[in-house]
Every structure is written in structure tokens, then in C-alpha cells.
């Protein structure tokens, strides 16, 4: 990641103490120069219904003039109790819930759940399934980053990006729809396999898209990366240092933009990611601009992975050959006594997992997306925990935004890439 960095504007900042921390003056404490408007702190409530909060996020902001003194995020408006619901469902029945967790990257969530359940049950998936899951994960990453780039453009006042990005996202969603029948709620995986193989001619369509897409990225970067307004809104805005980012539990592009090279695809490889040739883009300043550069480059790398996966996609079954885990085809269940028994037992009793616990994570578009199952030997988990990357990322928002202008808060919030479904669960 390289770019010419120069400070374009000098912005006013609120008072800081000797240690560099922003001076917080609680509203309840009377101010010395009471009576003048300039001394009064203002309280601004943003959200939960506001286009710049990317969902039902509510931010209570204390302002001194236009400078942000304090940000208090309020979350939970979209809380649906997924983890509780999961305790009453078979492992495969949980998969539709994962679509609604991070709804901008449902395939990543589907894969994360199947992977954790398979780790718990000791199931090895087939080679074709592995490659198809890689394809699904990278498509999810690109489509999620496209939404991020588009909405960030809108937040900062660049409408063209939104149109260009959503045009590409539409093509990806058409492909996902042809594969799974749904655009957002894909419910793609099953424990031990996938809900369906890709249709005929699908891989050629995806390859055509992969070859055309980098040009769109080039055009977008040509429009943004040296754009004076874009630089002014992003350079040195929302800085978080590497050690701070680690302490806040940031993962994914937000962490890597601060210069910490942690990517699960490299550090804790799954689905055979260690056999693909790709790079992990790393920033160095940890500001909005580096987060932008990292995500744009990640889309390019994901396209590389997609092309490699298409090249190596092996023939063969998508599901493991275990009738206790995978439902028999409907035609066999209707004609063959044994198949019908397996069908009946799976639907009525589910698949029992051995006593134990498994934590398994994938590198989602927002960082480490971990699924943690605890089993007591029955077909329903005792505990299903989602390690929500966006939740931890959002917790660092006050750290990044305090001391900046209110308009910068919008840019920083956009650059953190929150998705409320995953935060509130």
C-alpha cells in the first residue's frame, strides 16, 4: 500500500491535556464562562434511524463547537437473540440464522458455522466442497467490500462510487442467486457439504466477471485515491495505532490498516487457503485512508483467489459420503427403506455431536468471524457463540473519533464498516 501522503487541511481540535487525551467536560459540571454560547457543550443524538449509521446504530455525541469530545455508542436495537435461538435448534437448522447475522456476507457466516460444527463432529469435507466454499467466501468478501465502498462514498459525498460499486455487486448477487436461489439469505452450506452444486456454465460466468472486475477497481481508485476531497476527508482521520488496535480486539481490514499483519487465511489457514497465491495488504497509519486502501486492495486479492479456485475446481461430490450427516436424495428416501430411515432420523432427531467444544473462525470481510459450539452430546448445542468482528470494531469507534470534527465521525464510522446484524445478533 503506497500513496503520497500530505496534510491537506489543518483542522481545529478540542483541548487536550499534557498526555494528549481529550479534555472531557461533563455537562453536569458548570462551566467557568457560563452564559456564553461558545462555552457550552452540545449533545447530539445520531440515530438509531439515520442513513449515515449504516443500520440501527445510535451514537450520542458530546460536541464542543464542531469538535467531538465524547462518543457513546448504543447498540442492541437489532438484537434478535440468535445465540439463544440456536440452543433450541439442530446444527443444520441454525444455518438460516447465520444468514441474518452479517447479512452483507451471508456465505462467510454459513461457512463459519458449518466449519465449527464439522470441527466438533470430526467431519472432513470433500475437495470440491472446499474449493466451492473458498469461492463463496471470497465472493462474500468482495460484495461486502463493495457495499462498504459505495456507502462510504455516499457518506463522504461521492455518489458515483455508489453506482459503480452496486453495479458490480448486482452481478455477484445474480451469480449467488443462480447458485443458491437467494441473493442475501443464501443458506449455502450444510454440515458436511453444501446445499447445492453450482449450475452448468456458472463457473464461466464467474470467470468472466473476475477478469472484468479489476478494471472497475482501477477506475474507482483513479477517481478517489488522489482526489483532493477524498484525501481531505480521509487522510489522518480516525487514527488508531497498532497496539491500540490489538488491545481493542480489532481484526480484519481495520487491524491490518494499522500495520498488524493478522489474517486468518495466512495465520490459521482453513479450507486450504495456504495453497493459494495471494497477498495480505497492510497499511501503516491506521487512518481512514489506509482502511480504504487496504479494502480496495483486498478486493483485488480476492479476485486473484477466485481465479485460482476456478482453475483448480475438482470434480466429485460436494457432500461427505455419510448418511448419518447428509440427507439422502428425495427420490431415494421415497423408494429405499434404509434411505428413508436415515432421512427420518436426521429430520426428527438431528445430528448428535460428541461431548466437547469447538471454536472455529474464518476471515470474514470485517475480521475474525468465530463460531464457538459447546456440545453435551445431543443434537442441539448447549451454547452457540458468535465472535462478532463488527462488535469489537465498533467498540473502538470512540477511541478513533474523539478529537475530530462531527463530519469526521461520519467518515470514521463508515471506514470501520459496521453491520448491525452482527453487532446486535
Amino acid at each position: 500500500v503506497t500513496a503520497t501522503r500530505q496534510v491537506v487541511y489543518e483542522l481545529s481540535r478540542p483541548e487536550v491535556d499534557a498526555a494528549g487525551a481529550v479534555q472531557v467536560r461533563p455537562l453536569t459540571v458548570p462551566l467557568e464562562d457560563e452564559g456564553t454560547l461558545a462555552a457550552e457543550h452540545m449533545l447530539v443524538n445520531i440515530g438509531p434511524q439515520h442513513p449515515a449509521t449504516h443500520g440501527v446504530l445510535r451514537l450520542v455525541v458530546e460536541l464542543e463547537g464542531e469538535a467531538v469530545v465524547r462518543v457513546i455508542p448504543h447498540v442492541g436495537y437489532l438484537h434478535s437473540g440468535f445465540e439463544k435461538l440456536g440452543e433450541y435448534r439442530h446444527y443444520n437448522q441454525i444455518i438460516p440464522l447465520t444468514d441474518r447475522n452479517d447479512y452483507l456476507a451471508a456465505p462467510s457466516n454459513n461457512v463459519a458455522l458449518a466449519q465449527a460444527a464439522e470441527k466438533l463432529m470430526g467431519i472432513e469435507i470433500t475437495p470440491r466442497c472446499q474449493v466451492l466454499r473458498v469461492i463463496a467466501c471470497e465472493m462474500a468478501r468482495i460484495s461486502s467490500h463493495l457495499v462498504w465502498a459505495g456507502t462510504t462514498g455516499i457518506d463522504i459525498g461521492a455518489f458515483t462510487v455508489f453506482l459503480w460499486m452496486f453495479q458490480e455487486r448486482e452481478k455477484l448477487y445474480n451469480l449467488l442467486e443462480a447458485w443458491t436461489g437467494a441473493r442475501l439469505t443464501t443458506t449455502l452450506t450444510r454440515v458436511g457439504g453444501l446445499m447445492a452444486d453450482v449450475p452448468d456454465g456458472w463457473t464461466d460466468e464467474l470467470r468472466r466477471w473476475c477478469l472484468a472486475f479489476p478494471k472497475v477497481l482501477d477506475e474507482t481508485e483513479a477517481m478517489l485515491s488522489r482526489n483532493g476531497i477524498w484525501l481531505g476527508r480521509n487522510l489522518d482521520v480516525g487514527v488508531i495505532s497498532g497496539p491500540d488496535a490489538v488491545s481493542f480486539g480489532l481484526t480484519g481490514p481495520n487491524l491490518r490498516a494499522s500495520g498488524v499483519p493478522y489474517d486468518l487465511r495466512k495465520d490459521r489457514p482453513y479450507l486450504g487457503y495456504e495453497t493459494y497465491d495471494f497477498e495480505v495488504p497492510i497499511g501503516e497509519h491506521g487512518d481512514c485512508y489506509d482502511r480504504y486502501l487496504v479494502r480496495m486492495d483486498e478486493m483485488r486479492q480476492s479476485t486473484r483467489i477466485l481465479l485460482q479456485a476456478l482453475d483448480r475446481l475438482p470434480d466429485g461430490p460436494i457432500n461427505v459420503a455419510d448418511p448419518r450427516v447428509i440427507l439422502p436424495p428425495k427420490s431415494r428416501a421415497m423408494a429405499d427403506m434404509e434411505a428413508m430411515i436415515f432421512h427420518f432420523k436426521q429430520v426428527m432427531e438431528g445430528v448428535a455431536a460428541p461431548v466437547g467444544e469447538a471454536y472455529s473462525a474464518v476471515e470474514g470481510p470485517r475480521g475474525e468471524l468465530g463460531y464457538y459450539f459447546v456440545s453435551d452430546g445431543t443434537a442441539k448445542p448447549v451454547r452457540w457463540r458468535i465472535r462478532p468482528a463488527a462488535f469489537y470494531n465498533l467498540a473502538a469507534l470512540p477511541k478513533m473519533a474523539e478529537g475530530h470534527l462531527l463530519s469526521d465521525l461520519i467518515a470514521i464510522n463508515a471506514s470501520v464498516d459496521v453491520v448491525m446484524g452482527e453487532i446486535d445478533r
Binding site: P26, L27, T28, L43, N45, V60, E62, R70, I72, V75, G76, H79, G81, E83, K84, L85, Y88, K119, L120, G122, D244, V246, S247, F248, G249, V260, Y262, D267, R268, G356, E357, A358, Y359, A361, E368, G370, Y372, V374, D376, V382, R383, R385, R387, F391, Y392, A395, A396, K399, D424, R425
Partner: protein, 189 residues
């Protein structure tokens, strides 16, 4: 992988009887440590040059269907430099008060995570700077939803839930006391 992580031997040497048990499940090492020394042990795991578990990946809790089993607070640790994973657990007996020391001064990420565990399980974190509910609203009266004795549809009837939701003072959510809520919660256990 069925071998214990080498961190376990180092922990036993350093803390002796405070390391209660260790086993491997699905390839990951799980260490159960004494609740009253958990913070010290976690701090050592973070700072010791041989351990360097600098990323608190996740902090959560588990309650089992077996009513006799204690609640568990689960710390998922990852060392970015060493690429090593370790799961540390603290057991809290249900009749002995659900309290454990906060680690939010060791890792900032624990701040919200501990708030969520308090909200969902009712486990209190001693020394936490801001232990408020996070996913449920502040005056939520039905208890802690992820506890096993909490019914799936909530404790109150549907009509009571609607009544409570509509009876709240909306102004309370948009007042200037909002910002000093931390001070207002000072008397909270």
C-alpha cells in the same frame, strides 16, 4: 492434535495449584484456572515473553443444561506473533455469587465483551468501569436471557412485554444525564 499446549506446563510451573485442570477438545487446549487468580494469570499470559497472548479474541460465558454444573467464563486467547491459541476458563458456582475480576484494564476489548456477559448471563465483573447492559435496554426487567432458566419467549407475557415497552419514559433516553450515566450507576453492585 491431542497434545496439550506447551503453555499449560509453563502455567503449572508459574501458578501451581491455581491451574485446576487442562484438557484438549477438538484440537484446542482448555485450561481451567482458579477464579480468584484468573486476572493475574491472564495478565501473565499476555505479558510473559514466552507466551505473548496479545489478542483477547473473545470473552464469553457458558451455562450447561446440567443444573449442577458451574457457569464458565471463557477467554479465547491468540498470540499474533507466535500464532498460538489458548482457551482459558473460569468456573463460577451458581450458589456462590457470580463475580470475577474484570480484565478490561488488560485488554480494551474486554470492556464491551464483559458488558455483554453481564447482560446475557448476570455475571458481574469486579472493577469494570462501566458495567451496564449493552444489547438489552437499561431497565430491562426480565433477567439475563442466555441463562438456562430463562424461557425462550421471555419471562413476561406478550402483553406485559408490550406494556413495559410502551410505558418507558422516552425522554430518559435523550437527556443530558445520558452522558453522565456512568456516575449515575455508581451505586450499582
Amino acid at each position: 492434535v491431542t497434545a496439550l499446549s506447551p503453555s499449560v506446563a509453563a502455567l503449572r510451573q508459574q501458578f501451581g495449584p491455581a491451574i485446576l485442570r487442562a484438557h484438549v477438545s477438538c484440537g484446542d487446549t482448555i485450561v481451567v484456572v482458579a477464579a480468584d487468580r484468573a486476572k493475574e494469570i491472564l495478565g501473565w499470559l499476555r505479558d510473559d515473553p514466552g507466551q505473548r497472548f496479545d489478542l483477547l479474541v473473545d470473552l464469553t460465558a457458558v451455562e450447561y443444561r446440567d443444573r449442577e454444573r458451574p457457569l464458565e467464563v471463557v477467554y479465547q486467547l491468540w498470540s499474533i506473533g507466535r500464532r498460538a491459541f489458548l482457551r482459558v476458563k473460569v468456573e463460577l458456582a451458581k450458589d456462590a455469587g457470580l463475580d470475577v475480576d474484570t480484565v478490561s484494564d488488560l485488554w480494551q476489548s474486554a470492556n464491551w465483551a464483559e458488558r455483554e456477559v453481564w447482560d446475557m448471563f448476570g455475571i458481574r465483573f469486579r472493577g469494570h468501569p462501566d458495567l451496564r447492559r449493552i444489547l438489552m435496554w437499561e431497565n430491562y426487567a426480565e433477567g439475563h436471557p442466555l441463562r438456562k432458566d430463562f424461557p425462550l419467549r421471555g419471562r413476561f407475557s406478550r402483553s406485559e412485554q408490550v406494556r413495559q415497552a410502551l410505558s418507558g419514559a422516552l425522554e430518559a433516553h435523550y437527556s443530558s444525564e445520558e452522558l453522565s450515566i456512568r456516575q449515575a450507576q455508581g451505586g450499582r453492585p
